[in-house]
Symmetry: C2
Subunit: 325 residues, 2 copies
């Protein structure tokens, strides 16, 4: 079967590709596990060489706003699409038009291409807990009203409604998951407002000092890269009937304070000298983070067998194992 990952050059896209290649199969058109014979990584940037060295993998480098290109990549023979490509939160806020082009028009290109496929492709869409904003409760539940207060959040919510409507019409077999903040992201710090939540682990373990821009008491809803990849695979393979009419699902993110995260980093055994963690409050970042959910808790996801994490120590240990050792 042929699988396409949009945003396949990004961090989660690459992790997901590695997992699919390692397990070798996904639920296919037969409803049974079928061998993945073709995995296309679609992104504006090239995927790493180690992924491309696998015979099953090819890269499609280009712009998701180019409908013809998207249709040539997600072609008639495509069985499954993981749609992760997006302009991130801060980017969509800084450039309104770019955000709508990529996150809305790009998503419509993906859906139209999947609709044109010979079969009825499974399409798994990465939505976001940015669907919740404003007077958001400390714990976001399945029934919490959808009130995005960023353009990114609005674009993700619109994508969910499109996924549900295209699925209802039988054009695709779509599913959307609202992701909590994914921690720990490797690599360089990015401009996302949530970037510090990874940086507070990553930088000290790299021997670099880290100034956390929010208070030690500040809490966030967290999921690890390993678990979110598990969730993507689980969502793909799920019988969509179990989702009911709405194809969008909240994922559970456990709550951790930045103070507890700092302590866990300091406590974890390491051969290397760790960078120091200080708290240097940036009022703008603090205000943004104060408006985010502290926990996301989906009984629906749990009942459907979706995994979640439950403590920061295990998340840090997995990061060391996956990215540093």
């Amino acid at each position: 079967m042929k699988v396409v990952i949009t945003g396949g050059g990004g961090f989660i896209g690459r992790k997901l590709a590695e997992r699919i290649l390692a397990q070798g199969s996904l639920t296919g058109p037969s409803g049974q596990q079928e061998a993945v014979t073709e995995l296309v990584l679609f992104d504006a940037v090239a995927p790493p060489d180690e992924l491309l060295s696998d015979d099953r993998v090819s890269a499609a480098i280009g712009d998701i706003t180019d409908g013809d290109l998207v249709a040539s990549v997600i072609d008639a023979s495509t069985n499954s699409v993981f749609h992760l490509a997006a302009v991130v939160s801060a980017g969509a806020e800084a450039d309104f038009d770019l955000g709508y082009r990529v996150n809305l028009d790009g998503t419509r290109n993906v859906l139209e291409a999947a609709r044109a496929a010979t079969g009825t492709p499974r399409v798994v869409f990465a939505s976001s807990a940015a669907a919740y904003g404003g007077d958001v409760p400390e714990t976001v539940l399945d029934g919490t009203p959808i009130t995005p207060e960023t353009s990114y959040g609005a674009q993700k919510v619109i994508g969910e409604y499109l996924i549900t409507d295209y699925s209802r019409k039988g054009f695709i077999d779509g599913r959307a998951m609202r992701l909590p903040t994914i921690v720990v992201r490797p690599g360089k710090p990015n401009k996302a407002a949530s970037g510090f939540a990874s940086g507070i682990v990553r930088e000290p373990l790299n021997g670099v000092a880290m100034a956390c821009p929010v208070t030690p008491e500040s809490r966030m809803a967290i999921m690890s890269p390993r678990t979110v990849v598990d969730c993507f695979i689980h969502m793909h393979d799920l019988d969509a009937e179990k989702l009911g009419a709405s194809r969008a699902l909240l994922l559970s993110g456990f709550s951790v304070s930045m103070g507890d995260t700092a302590k866990a980093v300091r406590d974890i055994p390491s051969n290397r000298a760790k960078g120091e963690i200080t708290f240097d409050i940036d009022p703008a970042t603090q205000a943004i983070v104060d408006g985010w959910p502290k926990t996301t808790l989906s009984e629906r996801a749990a009942a459907l067998g979706f995994p979640s994490d439950d403590n920061i120590k295990d998340v840090i240990a997995a990061y060391i194992e996956d990215e540093l050792d």
Copy 2:
């Protein structure tokens, strides 16, 4: 001030135009009532001559999916837009692509044109109780989850999120209202699944027999044309701060059964012979109507001073006064 009504050739658009012309003013850029000096009715069809005979009125006839045309009608000098143009429920369900072109791309054209205006136009968007579907409670309240189960409903909900996001960015001063079923619509029966709810009043009063396709026990959430026009004006003139972060508001529709409606039609005094009302159940229509809310009840709308109707007799009497006498 310059006001544009999209869908200005339709039934509610025309009623709204008449009201604006009669009262002569709306809240303008000053925050005070200002004279409406220019009222443009934008539609695929020409408005009636009696509206065009008013010096303040002009018609723009064309396609809302034509972005250049929309930008030329909603030009830099535009102060207010009422965006009513849409492919209706059954139409958007029958032609998926047309529905998205008109109801989503058309709405984006309107928002982009308003964004490009010199000031910050007020944009009042006609959304719909079709935002609610599936396992919808008998009484839809302000907090009821948004679960459209038609493409029309999905498109309206997406429009609401766009209205809120464009407003949050300060590009427009937008507001959206979720309309219950509007009864009594004059003119010929249309293909909307809800058409019988007007037909059961209109046809007998025209001396024509009416076969109602749903049971006498079937109930719907109803608002009269007079009241919905009041709501459009009230929403336009409202200080948007009062709406809070979400610019979308449910309107209250009272509940009436088709049996009680039939009785009210038979009882109301009339000089003319009335057509007979029978009940000839169409299972497909019955199934659709059974999935609709029986009542929509918005405490938020009431607190903000939005009017609502409360009985079918008054609605019928108003119809006779406005459309027949």
